[in-house]
């Protein structure tokens, strides 16, 4: 720290280098995609490992978030006599924001870390180098199927999160609290627009899927080939994915839901 300007300069250059390296890696993944699609079972197996095995945590989190949203929204709305709009509030919160974002955060924590650890351990065990020796491109054999699997699985998980959340809110609101059943659904149906709300939520979840899976795969591939390096890479995956998802959420919300 003898020269603060040199420190700032070198950090900026390091940041730019990392950004460029990320971009180059993304292009390499895209280039390796056609070769990976010639073995579709690779992608299917990854969708199973990333999507199916995340179902338990996503569905139970969705249910819990639906329960809590219904309870809290009821206490807030009943002061204004607007408790019949409970369904509408829960639906819009889930479908527009909580569904894509919470699913992305859980996805980064569960699937992102497992991807990074798996690829990092492959690199530490020199399996990726061995594949290159055998003239098998490790990107199309190992990395791209996981990337495509994450992109396919993430919107499905977000939709399931929102659906289960709405059903959970229905159980709490109508069965437990006593909000009117017909009003719950009809006010919700008249207030939620398929293209604007559900469609934009799905676009968001696709963008988040690309972000989380790409960060996981990149961190796994670029990890230092030691157990310590794998641990650091796994932590970096979760931190970078979560921050990127939240920042991107703000940008996308401003673009999609602004009132101009």
């Amino acid at each position: 720290m003898t020269n603060p300007f040199a420190w700032i300069g070198s950090r900026t250059l390091e940041g730019l280098r990392a950004l460029g390296h990320n971009a180059w890696f993304f292009v390499e993944l895209l280039r390796a995609t056609p070769a990976a699609l010639r073995r579709p079972y690779l992608v299917t197996a990854q969708i199973h490992s990333i999507g199916n095995l995340s179902l338990v945590i996503i569905l139970s989190s969705g249910l819990a978030v639906g329960f809590v949203l219904a309870l809290q929204s009821y206490y807030a709305l009943v002061t204004y006599g607007a408790s019949e709009s409970l369904g509408l509030l829960v639906n819009l919160s889930l479908v527009r924001e909580l569904g894509p974002v919470v699913t992305a955060l859980l996805f980064a924590g569960r699937a992102g870390t497992s991807l990074t650890a798996e690829i990092g351990l492959m690199k530490a065990g020199e399996q990726l180098a061995a594949m290159e020796m055998m003239a098998i491109d490790p990107k199309s054999r190992v990395l791209v199927p996981r990337f495509l699997g994450g992109i396919v699985a993430m919107p499905v998980l977000a939709v399931l999160f929102s659906s289960v959340g709405i059903l959970g809110a229905y159980v709490v609101a109508v069965q437990l609290i006593g909000v009117d059943d017909g009003n719950f659904w009809s006010i919700m149906q008249s207030g939620v627009d398929v293209w604007r709300d559900v469609g934009n939520g799905i676009i968001k979840s696709m963008v988040f899927g690309v972000i989380c899976t790409f960060v996981a795969v990149y961190q796994g591939y670029e990890t230092q080939a030691t157990p310590e390096g794998v641990a650091h890479a796994t932590t970096r995956t979760v931190v970078i994915s979560s921050l990127s998802v939240l920042a991107m959420d703000f940008v996308l919300t401003a673009m999609m839901f602004s009132t101009h």
């Binding site: 396919v152 939709v159 659906s163 919700m188 559900v198 799905i202």
Partner: protein
């Protein structure tokens, strides 16, 4: 797990996702209520459309019978031209009126159609002649103030007439 088992599970996963999507679209949103194929177009010109947006509902007696498809400005008359898609089976007489109303106190605005008494009906592409613009809060306030000022102005001569009579 063998290859076929994995593929079946992934297939079920995708089907579950599609089922969730259908549930969200049909049961939790407003798809499926109105299809654009069996409808006809009506035009209406307003001096002020207020907060009306595209895809707002068109209602008659409170029942949704159509959607707003486009809102443009007529460059010659400076009126807002609103295109409505109305369901095929619902017809309105040629002297029907269109008003821009608000659902509830703070809700979204919609177009309300009131049928007239003519025998002929509006066909596809016809323009609704009688329209009433949206309520603009500033005009309401200025009208209220003007009425108050007019009342105050007309009440002052009365005590003077009573005094002059005496």
């Amino acid at each position: 797990m063998n290859k076929r088992g994995v593929e079946i599970l992934v297939g079920m996963f995708v089907v579950l996702g599609l089922a969730g999507l259908l549930f969200l679209a049909l049961k939790a949103a407003n798809l499926g209520s109105f299809s654009a194929s069996d409808s006809y177009v009506l035009l209406a010109k307003f001096d002020n459309i207020g907060g009306l947006k595209v895809r707002a509902p068109v209602r008659s007696a409170g029942v949704t019978v159509g959607r707003v498809t486009s809102i443009t400005l007529d460059p010659k008359t400076y009126q807002g031209v609103v295109k409505l898609d109305v369901q095929q089976g619902v017809v309105f007489p040629t002297d029907s009126s269109a008003r821009i109303l608000t659902s509830g106190l703070l809700g979204d605005q919609y177009v309300g159609l009131e049928p007239g008494a003519e025998e002929k009906n509006l066909g596809a592409g016809d323009t609704i002649k009688q329209t009433q613009s949206a309520v603009v809060l500033e005009s309401l306030i200025s009208q209220f103030l003007f009425n108050k000022a007019a009342d105050a102005g007309s009440s002052t001569p009365t005590p003077a007439a009573g005094g002059a009579k005496k």
